[in-house]
């Protein structure tokens, strides 16, 4: 029996609307589950400013009729993400005061996009982070880093899978950021 999309939608049994998923301001690094293994990388970058440049700071996407809310504490979230640089050879120092460490390269980080969308049962997390630096070796950086990852929700499309999708996207971006940041520390 052929039906239009509208007809099928009208005939569908009433299914309770899913409640929003709230992500937490954390960062779980699948690429480096042990973090920096207790070591403090010699290369340090001083992050003087962390800016929220998102057009949509509250909602990261809507999947299967469920809204995905971004972590409420933006600063804590970004600090957790920047902590992932340690496992990649860069120590992120959160010091707005330039006098605190004048010889260390400084950076301004802007989160431009953090979103999750779905295609069938695959969740795709995407982030775009802009990095602007001063000091250090070589030319200062002024570029964006894009990270993305796909997670398949075989068993559960729960908050853990969504969190994992955005964590993976950040990890992808951190990989490229770390390469360029370490170059600033080169003697």
């Amino acid at each position: 029996m052929l039906m239009t999309a509208a007809g099928i939608a009208a005939a569908a049994p009433a299914i309770a609307a899913p409640q929003p998923a709230q992500l937490t301001p954390t960062f779980k690094d699948r690429d480096h589950p042990n973090g920096a293994s207790g070591k403090t990388p010699a290369c340090s970058i001083r992050f003087t400013e962390i800016v929220d440049g998102r057009r949509s700071p509250e909602v990261m996407g809507v999947i299967d009729r469920r809204a995905i809310y971004a972590p409420k504490d933006f600063q804590a979230w970004m600090e957790a993400v920047l902590g992932g640089l340690a496992a990649r050879g860069v120590t992120a120092r959160l010091e707005p005061d330039a006098a605190a460490a004048p010889d260390i390269p400084s950076a301004r980080l802007t989160l431009q996009i953090a979103s999750i969308q779905s295609t069938v049962v695959t969740y795709s997390g995407s982030v775009v982070v802009k990095l602007q630096t001063e000091g250090g070796a070589g030319a200062p950086l002024d570029r964006s880093y894009r990270g993305r990852v796909a997670r398949t929700a075989y068993w559960s499309g729960g908050t853990d899978t969504l969190q994992s999708a955005i964590d993976g996207a950040f990890a992808d971006a951190l990989n490229d950021m770390a390469v360029d940041l370490k170059a600033l520390c080169a003697a």
Partner: protein, 296 residues
């Protein structure tokens, strides 16, 4: 298991369709009586996505293998692989469109369109990224109007990246709880809507190829000039078709859907061919207008 639950729901719906009585659907037309009722109608523009979406041809392995756990797992794996490739392909265009504000374009388009509709000219226009039922239900409560006209936009590429598509879903929902609803979100269930229609505008590459990567490179070249032009064109056409859709009568729809109109298919959308809007343009009635242009 999520994949089998999806399949189970689809089978249950098909079964219900086979034997059930007709279920009320929202009106596809705004009657004259609805124009001024309620007098305090508000508008909310919704754009859930942050960047242009990609598309895939979903795997049919599950069907081919007769369903079951193995078929479901294989299908999910194949879909994941296709999604990863599509997402990777889309990246250059997204990069080049990073500063293109589709959210503002959607809002401006809606304001300009509704300014042409006498009974919507004074409606306040709000914006949200939360197009979920819970989000819409919350909007019905916070906006305060007796009825909200939700205009939900989505934009993506066709599977072969030859076309860029924009879809607008227009739905009127009442703030008052329907008699049979048990939860507030029931107010935005399709069966409880006062009105619903959809409009699709599609813009093709001037010279699309059979290769997805080549098509993407065409869209993203020169700071994504073609993609920017296509989005601008698609929303500009939406500005024309929104008021035209809201002015349709039952007779108009019957005439457009008549079987004497030839069948057409553009950008993955099928319908009955209507008068040609112009050179290189096609207009179908799907239901809902489907407009296609062969270049930005």
């Amino acid at each position: 298991m999520r994949i089998l639950v999806h399949a189970g729901v689809c089978l249950a719906v098909a079964g219900a369709c086979a034997g059930s009585a007709a279920i009320a659907a929202p009106s596809p037309v705004v009657t004259a009586e609805m124009h001024g009722v309620p007098p305090d109608r508000a508008v909310q523009v919704l754009v859930a996505q942050s960047e242009i979406k990609s598309n895939i041809n979903p795997s049919n392995i599950a069907v081919a293998t007769g369903g079951g756990l193995l078929g479901g797992l294989m299908a999910a794996s194949q879909n994941a692989s296709r999604t990863k490739k599509a997402e990777a392909l889309t990246e250059p265009v997204r990069e080049a469109l990073i500063d293109f504000d589709v959210d503002s374009l959607a809002q401006n388009t809606t304001r300009a369109a509704f300014a042409q509709v006498p009974w919507l000219q004074n409606a306040t226009v709000a914006f949200s990224k939360d197009s979920s039922p819970v989000g819409k239900s919350g909007a019905l409560d916070t906006i305060g109007a007796s009825q909200v006209a939700f205009v939900e936009y989505s934009y993506d590429f066709s599977v072969d990246f030859a076309e860029l598509r924009v879809v607008a879903k227009v739905e009127f929902a009442d703030k008052a709880m329907p008699a049979a609803a048990t939860k507030p979100e029931g107010r935005v269930n399709r069966k409880n809507l006062a009105y619903a229609q959809a409009i699709t505008t599609i813009v093709s590459l001037p010279v699309p190829t059979d290769d997805k990567a080549t098509n993407v490179s065409l869209w993203s070249a020169d700071g994504a000039s073609l993609a920017r032009a296509a989005l601008t064109t698609a929303f500009a056409k939406m500005e024309q078709l929104l008021p035209r859709t809201l002015a349709l009568t039952t007779e108009d729809i019957a005439a457009m859907a008549a079987k004497t109109n030839k069948k057409g298919n553009v950008g993955g959308f099928a319908g009955r061919t209507q008068e040609s809007p112009g050179t290189g343009e096609t207009l179908l009635w799907g239901p809902g207008f489907v407009w296609y242009r062969d270049r930005p």
